[in-house]
């Protein structure tokens, strides 16, 4: 596979736009007369843009809606409302052949390399399946060659094309998942926790592979993860999600060095640093309680029930994710402010 150097594809132009995306899962009662009694607001009004060649990290704790967001973007779930465009074409209303063409440009790498590969298919069949669905993507008879090229690109032995997934380790399986995502030469890849199931020494190999493929093919990544250290390493921009909403979004530096939202600050301060010397527990912001249920989120600011800055206004008014005086990147907090300068990420 050779790099597709198309001069028309300018690095930095907006490739994916998501606007006020909502996904509510209905909660129903009754068997015969099913009626909706509520909704789990998994994704509750999310907007962002992704530029060509860029990696946008989406971080948040479990239940914040980051994986549902990925599934809606891939059209594995039907959104409740909102708009999303991929290169100007509507992603959410497309159907049939149009949707199939759009999906060619946007592929996904799943979290669990053990369940996302069919154990009864050979690696060649798994990576070659996209070519069966899109016959025009590989000229007749060239499929096997393309599959072997893909194996080579992701650092696997091309001769292993007839092996089955169980013959590979976790890290190798994740490479197979990446090769499958690359098969149709997409421009956007949605990575849903691609390294969180892997051991530390293997995780670094896969992160380096993703970065190298991005440079080689000019890919744009939506990189969903809960590990803030991994996200800082790989992402250009970062969005922090809490209970279905983006509470803060900015460049990697804005989020990690100049976070203004209390949730982001607490999240960053809680990350354990692998260095006993640099560690001062004094900087850790201890959040109390648990994340509220997305079926019944608090009024106003969703974070107010765990926030030490919360006042009456936080219960009344939902803070929009807009630029704040404390720092020009968007943050959804009425009292957005930087942490003390000497202590940007919560430790001295």
């Amino acid at each position: 596979m050779t790099a597709t150097a198309d001069p028309a594809k300018v690095r930095g132009e907006t490739i994916l736009t998501v606007d006020d995306l909502v996904k509510h899962f209905p909660i129903t009662r009754g068997v015969l007369f099913r009626r909706q009694v509520g909704a789990v607001r998994a994704v509750d009004g999310v907007s962002f843009t992704l530029r060509r060649g860029e990696t946008l990290g989406i971080v948040g704790e479990s239940g914040c809606g980051k994986s549902t967001l990925a599934r809606v973007l891939m059209r594995l779930e039907t959104p409740t409302s909102g708009r999303a465009t991929l290169q100007g074409r509507d992603l959410l209303t497309a159907g049939g052949g149009e949707l199939r063409r759009l999906r060619r440009n946007m592929q996904m790498v799943m979290q669990d390399p053990y369940t996302s590969l069919n154990p009864r298919m050979t690696v060649g069949d798994i990576i070659g399946e996209p070519f069966d669905i899109h016959p025009d993507a590989a000229p007749k008879g060239s499929k096997r060659g393309r599959v072997q090229e893909l194996l080579d690109v992701v650092g696997l032995n091309p001769e292993h094309v007839n092996r089955y997934p169980h013959q590979f380790s976790g890290g190798q399986r994740q490479r197979i998942g990446i090769a499958r995502a690359l098969a149709l030469r997409p421009e956007v890849i949605v990575c849903d926790e691609p390294v969180s199931a892997l051991d530390v020494s293997i995780q670094a190999q896969v992160i380096n592979l993703l970065e190298q493929l991005q440079d080689e093919f000019g890919l744009s990544y939506v990189f969903i993860a809960h590990d803030l250290s991994v996200v800082r390493h790989i992402c250009d921009r970062v969005a922090v999600m809490y209970l279905g909403r983006i509470v803060e979004i900015g460049t990697e530096e804005e989020i990690y060095e100049r976070a203004t939202h209390p949730y982001t600050q607490a999240l960053l301060s809680a990350v354990p640093v692998p260095d006993p010397e640099a560690r001062g527990t004094a900087g850790i912001i201890r959040l109390t309680g648990d994340v509220p249920s997305p079926a019944d989120p608090p009024s106003g600011c969703h974070f107010r029930t765990r926030c030490w800055k919360a006042e009456d206004i936080c219960a009344r008014e939902d803070p929009p994710t807009v630029p704040r005086p404390a720092d020009p990147h968007p943050s959804a907090c009425h009292f957005a402010a930087l942490r003390a300068r000497s202590d940007p990420t919560g430790r001295g």
Binding site: A204, D275, E277
Partner: protein, 345 residues
Amino acid sequence: MTESAPRPTPASPTPPGGHLLDVRDLHVEFRTGEGVAKVINGVSYHLDPGETLAVLGESGSGKSVTAQAVMGILDSPPAVIRSGQIRYRGRDLLTLPEEQRRQVRGKEIAMIFQDALSALNPVFPVGWQISETLRHRDGMSRADARRRTVELMDLVRIPGAAGRLGDHPHQFSGGMRQRVMIAMALALDPKVLIADEPTTALDVTVQAQIMDLLADLRRDLDMAMILITHDLGVVAGVADRIAVMYAGRIVEHADVRPLYRAPAHPYTKGLLASIPRLDVRGRELSTIRGLPPNLMRIPGGCPFHPRCPYAQQVCVDVVPDDLVLADGRTSACHFAQEVHDDRDR
């Protein structure tokens, strides 16, 4: 892999009365239909009252199996303890009859697990599950057990404990379920708490809460703790000593600070270099090449040699002994001193 002689337990000197817990040259294999997997190949470590030992390793390194052997909860078959001793207060647990072993389990050494949801019984209220231990093992009356259960739930900071006795595990969040399991482990007032990946399934903010809780409990109840984890970040905050495991052996054993400052085994060095860090920017991740070995076919010589940047012919031919470095730490590497002094790689 060739048999190695029992190695001395590294780091601190043996106190007059012996160590609280002393694992000596433990060998465990799994005999399966496909062959024999050598899961533990001569592990020795010890624990003294009040200290926290971290056992660090990746999947398949044998860190959990060692703990299960200490607890006496290995699944046999397939697991077989080939040799070694597990001495608790001077008595070898492996030679005790099951009835006496049972008295140690829970009362002296207790364990908490990674996945609280599957470690708790879904069909019984948590109050019942915690008090069951008290009634069966301590012979407490229903009312006393109930009172003690509420105390335990308060101790692990479950809000409104008395009102939650009747709740089932699914009614608790992940962090709260972990607290329930900790309460169960503390029920019989153990002297040693083994925590097997206690926060791996939890989010970072909850993880911080649980690690704080464990550290406070360890201090307040004067327990010793073995923390089993793969997370170099979690270890840095709470452990006194670290034993790094690879392919069923402890490859490096040291106090926390010296180990992070200058690892003396290439595997430890590779691990530390391969994790992205929140506080260090713009560094390409170095990787450990290759894969961990198949435990049915552990490479001869040093099991790490196929992945090691320092490897030479001697590493292929000779199993390295534990080299004791100047400050009392040990490293199972022929080139331990060179690795320790080499700050560039």
